[in-house]
Amino acid sequence: MLATHRDAEERYARMRQAVLDEVNKDLISSRHIEARARLIDQTALLQSERWGNSARRRVDWQWVEGYNLFKFRHPKRFEMALWHGNNLVSLSLGRPTYNGSKLRIDFIEGNPEKPDGIKVFEYTFIAMVGYAQVLGADELRVMNPINTDVKRYYETFGLNYVPKSDYLYIRL
């Protein structure tokens, strides 16, 4: 790894952590008192491998491989592992666009066996808005919703679908 790449990785890791610290302050004071937002680590990646055992899972992703490659390519990335107690609730991974004016989420997955009432996107959205603030981005994008139900769910958050490129966006 080049020194410039390492420096960027460390600088943006501090920014990511600062955002998650603020998200956690909010979680502690909310009805989601057992939930915590963390950076993605080996513990989270290992736990995500159990998701493949669930019949409710809609994707067949290898987060270990996907995260490691994405991390190497994108030091400015957005990432979050959402936990509820000792259970991994979701993983999400994204990055700013080329010119840095938009923050996109490339991959997000909820634990297919997460407890009822535990939601994934609400706090991912909140964390993304926080990270967009840090980056100076003025738009969020969610890439490639896996089906119509998921697309409609995003639309309830005020996101607008762009069929040509299969993503949703919201201006900040």
Binding site: E65, K119, F125, V129, M143
Partner: protein, 72 residues
């Protein structure tokens, strides 16, 4: 989708928040305002195309962001 909720808050856009905490408060207010906080998430919730990314990250990134002007 009405034009009114294409932006998190017109008022906030005029005066951008200065801190992460402000941005988080604004995001939470938006979620409340659009009535999304009590909706159930679809089963097997996920978005993205990780397989395409892993098969060829360069192609994935080119296809997902073909032009560098970032326009819709």
């Amino acid at each position: 989708m009405s034009d009114e909720i294409k932006h998190l808050s017109e008022q906030a856009r005029k005066k951008k928040p200065q801190t992460i905490a402000d941005a988080i408060k604004r995001a939470k207010a938006h979620i409340r305002n659009v009535g999304a906080e009590n909706l159930e998430e679809p089963e097997g919730f996920a978005s993205g195309d990780m397989k395409k990314f892993l098969e060829n990250p360069d192609t994935y990134e080119k296809d997902n962001e073909g032009s560098k002007d970032d326009k819709h």
